[in-house]
Amino acid sequence: MNDTNGVGARAHRLGGADRVTGHQRYVADIPMAETLHAKLVTVDCAHARILSIDTSAAERVPGVAFVMTAADLPQPMPRFGPEYQDRPVLADGEVKYHGEPVAAVAAETKDAAEEAATLVKVEYEPLPAIFTIAAALYPSAELVQDPSIRRPGPHIETNVLREYRFGWGDVEEMHADVVVEHTYTWPMQTHFAIEPHGFMAAPDGDGIAAWSSIQHPYQLQKTLAKVLGMPMSKVRVFAPDPGGAFGGKQHPKLEPLVAFMALRADRPVRLILTLEEAFQAVRRAGTEIRARMGFKSDGTLVFQDYVNHFLTGAYADTGDRITAKASFLTAGPYRTPAVRIVARSVLSHTTPTHPYRGFGIPQVTWARESCLDEGAIALGIDRLEIRLRNLVKYGEEHVPGDTPADGNWEQTVRKAAEEIRWGTPLPPGQGRGIAIGVKSGPTTGLSYSTVRFLADGSVLVFSGTSDMGQGARTIFAQIAAEELGVPLDRVAMVMGDTSVVPYDQQTSASRSSVLMGNAVLNACRDIQRKIKAMASHLHDIDESEIVVDRGVVHLPDRDLPIVDVLKAGLGRMGGELVGNGESRKQADPDHPLGGTALFFEFNCTACDVAVDPDTGETTVLRHVTVGDVGFALNPMQVTGQDEGAAVMGLGHALMEHLILDDEGRTRNLGAIDYRIPTSLDLPLELHSFIVENADGPGPYGVKGISEGSLLCTAPAVAAAVRDATGVVIRDLPLSPERVWRAMQEQP
């Protein structure tokens, strides 16, 4: 291994210098002449019929170019979405969630756009809003979506977008000594990336150029081509590094609107959301999960039985896929003879559910791990012991027909137990918890990479991954440096331009180190094959006698640096070697999710807490996360991602929730009323550990890692709070008020 540059090194982040000097350009920072500024127009209502929109006063504001309404868009209204094409470019006759844009102003200045937006007169009739699971499922509930835009199916006349039934064995036939049954809820939460979403579009010849802080630029290219009726080749998407995304910037949202505005203006148009607007653009699914577990008296699981309801928004976005993919793995990594999971994605007049770090797994894990603890307590069995007793072994299936356990998971759990000193006593008022999280990686995937080995031995790597802070740019450069034997500072990454960089399906599900990593590796191997042919020609040696490995050309009688062969082989004309790599996770049409898990992210979290009996405030004294990462391509970045996910998980467990009023309007929009962890909310001790057995499907045995440590944070913390206080809380967050009230009500 290459100690300072290559894989496994704590290499500095590529792009790091720009981040500490202020030179990193996010969408809002890109200079663009002649740009119009856009501002959204909304109504303070979760559900309303739009009667009329009067733009005349707004259009009289000096500097206003135009006000875009649904009437200015093609009819029927273009709709789009990753799974269901149900989201309109602008609200189509009805506002279906609080903050859904009904119009947008384009003006020469931000001031003019903001002023004019307040002068657009929207006449509307407020309608009752459905924003809870119970209200949406009420038999006579009004339908959130007109059946005409629904896919035909048995639930089209209800607010159930789709129902899933997963499982195996027969739960009804199983005999259990102890059965535990409870309902666990998880509130809607917002991503709160510090960079609110930014979008820009500009006419580009007979096509369009679009800039977006998006994780999936190639999905945006496809969406814009479809709604604008352009060939994909005429849609050029620039994807500057997002300033944090956490799933909230995956799929297109307001880009089609901005593109229509730019075409109408025949000028660039930029829309930068406020933080409040970002809250209303994306959010995490709220869930209610009824868990029922049957045990033998020794703690062996006999059955697991779940009913999962995911509160999806007014448009499907990714909510249905989150419901399916997370619910499929509700029973977790435990050997269970019979499992029944009924899962429903439920439409409501709320912001569309978007992917959010963990993709629904934190919600199902909250229910499962909490219920498992309640079972352990009912049985008088240690909470670590009950997990180890039921945990599948390496190579054993936990979901029949899916990928078997792809790691030594017991090693991970035992490491967490050891680091929290499981079994040692704590003083009164303190408590300890432990929980396990497991998440399927991608079920399908396709990534391409091109690597150009230039005549001076420097390297260009083309990758369509978005670097939103996880450090993708750095690890791909490390792979190229390793394979081509060049210093890391001679590798440059080219990303974020769909007209230049080959296709990548998406940046999500902790996939990139595996899928794009393999594509980059394969592109480097393509170059190594060409180097081998060069060496064969130069030295008149049969290719079968030459080995090219990690930057070195091994001839039968000597070794040569790869760069020497490149230079000699290219000769006086110079030029370059181009390598292409592809990496694919094939779909499986017979699998309920359309494909098996490419890998699992497996994490065990344990913590010690103290609870203040006078205030209900929880202080995390020691927080330990252990993730099975396969291999750490860059240990410094792995720690950053792992600790970051843990702190985000603590925010979700202890403080974060969107609050709706009795009309379904979000009341805590923005940074004052929606709190996320600050430096003062850190655990007193936070330790991130990894298990490395080089057994992942990515380069050198890597697995995805960026979500692991928030999968089971909430149940670990709640278990510790219960251990400290005796109170059982089944609704998040564990706010001081909620904990204090529960303590007061204790018998």
């Binding site: 500490v20 000097t21 202020g22 300033g243 802070g469 720690t639 991602q641 970051g644 940074a671």
Partner: protein, 158 residues
């Protein structure tokens, strides 16, 4: 058109003389009038710290201050931290510890940290967490950030 006023301030050592709209914040002036986009906009209510700059040495949320209030002031932004084209010790330390992930909050973190070290050259981790509590990091690299600040003062004269 908005009413404007003439103002002069020194930004990163360079005198800027300009007419600014009276309703524009210092953040607006820095980003839109001067073109220094290193200072970031997020919450615009003084809660997230992404827009932190030093005004006469004091860390300020530039979203909460009118541009004209900085008339006559010395303003330091993230673009002014590097010395002679080289990263300063703290910027280097941020790279060494992996403190800059997505990077969006980092300009504000660096400015708050710079102010902290000016008034307390040898802070503890608790001092750092207290001083930077107004700078949100959703990547939550708080431990890497405090480690970087500590590393940047190690070896400095006590």
């Amino acid at each position: 058109m908005n009413e404007t006023m003439h103002m002069e301030m020194t930004v990163n050592g360079r005198v800027r003389s300009l007419d600014v709209a009276v309703n524009h914040t210092l953040l607006d002036v820095l980003r839109d009038d001067i073109g220094l986009t290193g200072t970031k906009e997020c919450c615009v209510v003084g809660e997230c710290g992404a827009c932190t700059v030093l005004v006469d040495g004091i860390p300020m949320n530039s979203c909460l201050m009118l541009g004209i209030e900085a008339d006559g002031a010395e303003v330091l932004t993230v673009e002014g931290l590097a010395e002679g084209g080289h990263l300063n010790r703290m910027q280097e330390a941020f790279l060494d510890t992996g403190a800059a992930q997505c990077g969006f909050c980092i300009p504000g973190q660096l400015m708050s940290a710079t102010a902290l070290l000016q008034r307390n050259p040898h802070p503890t981790v608790a001092d750092i967490n207290e001083a930077l509590a107004g700078n949100l990091c959703r990547c939550a690299g708080y431990q890497q950030i405090s480690a970087a600040i500590l590393a940047s003062v190690q070896g400095a004269a006590p």
